[in-house]
Amino acid sequence: MKLITAIIRTTQLDQVREALIENEITRVTVSRVSGHGRQKNAEQIHRGRKVVPSLAPKIKLEIAVNDGFVDKVVDTIIDAATSNDGYETDEVGTIGDGKIFITPLEECIRIRTRERGPEAI
């Protein structure tokens, strides 16, 4: 079992979620997070002053999967989370598109039935 944690652009959330659902990956936890990275943050305007927020808003997805599904999930997220994927410019992917972390998952328990392990995922 693995826990896949993906940090993506807020703007790509809909697209990623739609792609995941299309690939029958429907169990996902989404949270709004913020952080630093190499990305230069988008300017905001406050009464005529340009303000660059120090923390960039991001979306965090958490998906627990059995080992056989890891590649499918990761590929789906990478495809859908890449910005400018050929729609408006030729440039594909920009700094700030995010990262995916894969960590081993020790145990998984379904609360209702108390099932444990791969069954419960």
Partner: protein, 455 residues
């Protein structure tokens, strides 16, 4: 002359300034005398109510901003509220420039709209008093508020997917080409709908001019621009229904200015309109709750505000002519038919994001047509006298239907043309990436909420 300044030292004015000050005071006293002379015929009661109504109708615009803003997704809340607020700026300026002249000037171009160059910049209104004892300035501002809220209503149909500057251009053109002529036809004394049939097409406070025209234009725009990305597959949850409820409440309050103010006096007809407004809104609210409770098993908060709006929209054209029973039936009927229209919309698949057509278009049509059956006898008697003997409900129904069809066709066709013009000039539909980011960051460089909602 002395002024007290912050540190309580007494400060004497320099002589030069003192002279200027005294001159100014003398001038103001003098001009006060001049205006006092022109105040003959002023009805301070009516004027006070019209001033209040003017403010109440303006309150509806931020009310609408909150209503619509709460219904869109988090990333579009400011962009959507800006549609209403921008209308307050743009339409007011246009109204003062030549909107009032186009609406309330005498017929030109075969009655297409009105025109009087005296009304440009409201020049001739400075000391003008209307027959009812209300300064024309007040009337012009009251009417100007209607010109603000009408295009703001359309924005609900294409929320979450239009370029801000294109929207601004669109409402400016729409106000000139659609609103002003319609307003002239229905409310100017020489407008052809004002004089249709025995006693005119009944549109007390804007069923055809405001709600049908906005609703139909919204429908046309929603179809022209296409659905939002992901509609209807992706769930698009309202960002803040609490704000929507507050906005709906403000709309109800403001509607007393909208309807009861449309009597342009403070008297019996004002009272009649006020009662009809309250009763229809309540009937609409209850009817929607019952239908939803029966159909979905739960009465929702969004449902009750939708019902209130449906009732208010339906009573808008009717407020001057229906009695409480009629208002009650109209309110309930509007909720029933609008609810059906929303179900139909979901089947048909066009994306009228916030149901500008489903509530305002449909509710306006229901009100303008069905009010015919509830007109108070005294109005019918007056119509019969004007017609020279008899005037039946069915004849009036014909007049009402004609007015409705004219409003639908005119607003629909002109909006389609304007959409093409704006689209060809600067593009109307948001780019894919702007739509994904949300209007707030894409067009305004801000975000509405903190870190609340991952949508």
């Amino acid at each position: 002359m002395y002024f007290l300044v912050k540190d309580f030292k007494i400060y004497e004015m320099p002589t030069k300034r003192k002279t200027l000050w005294l001159t100014l005071m003398a001038v103001s006293v003098l001009s006060f005398d001049l205006t006092a002379a022109n105040q003959e015929g002023l009805d301070s009661g009516s004027t006070a109510w019209m001033l209040t109504s003017t403010a109440l109708v303006l309150l509806m615009v931020p009310g609408l901003a909150m209503f619509y803003g709460g219904l869109v997704r988090t990333k579009n809340v400011l962009g959507t509220m800006m549609h209403s607020f921008a209308a307050m700026g743009i339409m007011t300026i246009l109204w003062v420039l030549f909107g009032y002249a186009m609406c309330f000037g005498p017929n030109v171009l075969g009655g297409w709209f009105g025109w009087s160059s005296d009304f440009v910049f409201l020049k001739s209104l400075d000391e003008s008093m209307m027959d009812g004892g209300v300064p024309e300035y007040v009337f012009s501002m009251f009417q100007g508020k209607f010109a603000i809220i009408t295009p703001a209503l359309i924005a609900g149909a294409f929320a979450e997917r239009v370029i801000f500057k294109s929207y601004c251009l669109f409402i400016a053109l729409w106000g000139i080409l659609v609103y002003n002529p319609l307003c002239h036809w229905v409310w100017a004394e020489d407008g052809f709908l004002f004089n249709l049939g025995a006693n005119g097409a009944i549109d007390f406070a804007g069923g055809t001019v405001v709600h049908i025209s906005a609703g139909v234009s919204g429908l046309v725009a929603a179809i022209y621009l296409g659905a939002r990305r992901g509609y209807p597959k992706t769930n698009m949850p309202p960002s803040n229904l609490v704000m929507t409820m507050i906005g709906g409440g403000l709309l109800w309050v403001g509607w007393f200015g909208f309807n009861a103010g449309s009597s342009v006096e403070s008297g019996l007809s004002t009272a009649q309109a006020l009662v009809a407004t309250q009763v229809a809104a309540a009937a609409g609210a209850i009817a929607w709750m019952i239908i939803e409770g029966w159909h979905q098993g739960k009465a929702t908060a969004l449902g009750i505000v939708s019902g209130i709006l449906a009732g208010l929209v339906a009573v808008t054209p009717a407020a001057g002519v229906v009695q409480p029973f009629g208002a009650m039936v109209l309110g309930a009927l509007a909720s029933i038919i609008c609810y059906g229209a929303l179900l139909l919309k979901n089947k048909m698949g066009y994306d009228d994001s916030l149901d500008a057509f489903g509530i305002h278009g449909v509710g306006g049509i229901v009100g303008a047509v069905f009010l015919t059956f509830f007109i108070r006898p005294s109005w019918m008697a007056e119509a019969a006298a004007l017609a020279g003997g008899s005037w039946s409900v069915w004849q009036q129904l014909g007049v009402q239907c004609a007015a409705v069809v004219i409003a639908i066709v005119y607003a629909g066709v002109c909006t389609w043309i304007l959409l093409i013009i704006v689209d060809k000039l600067i593009g109307f539909r948001s780019s894919r990436s702007s739509e994904l980011q949300g209007l707030d960051t894409a067009y305004h460089g801000e975000h509405g909420y903190g870190m609340l909602n991952p949508n």
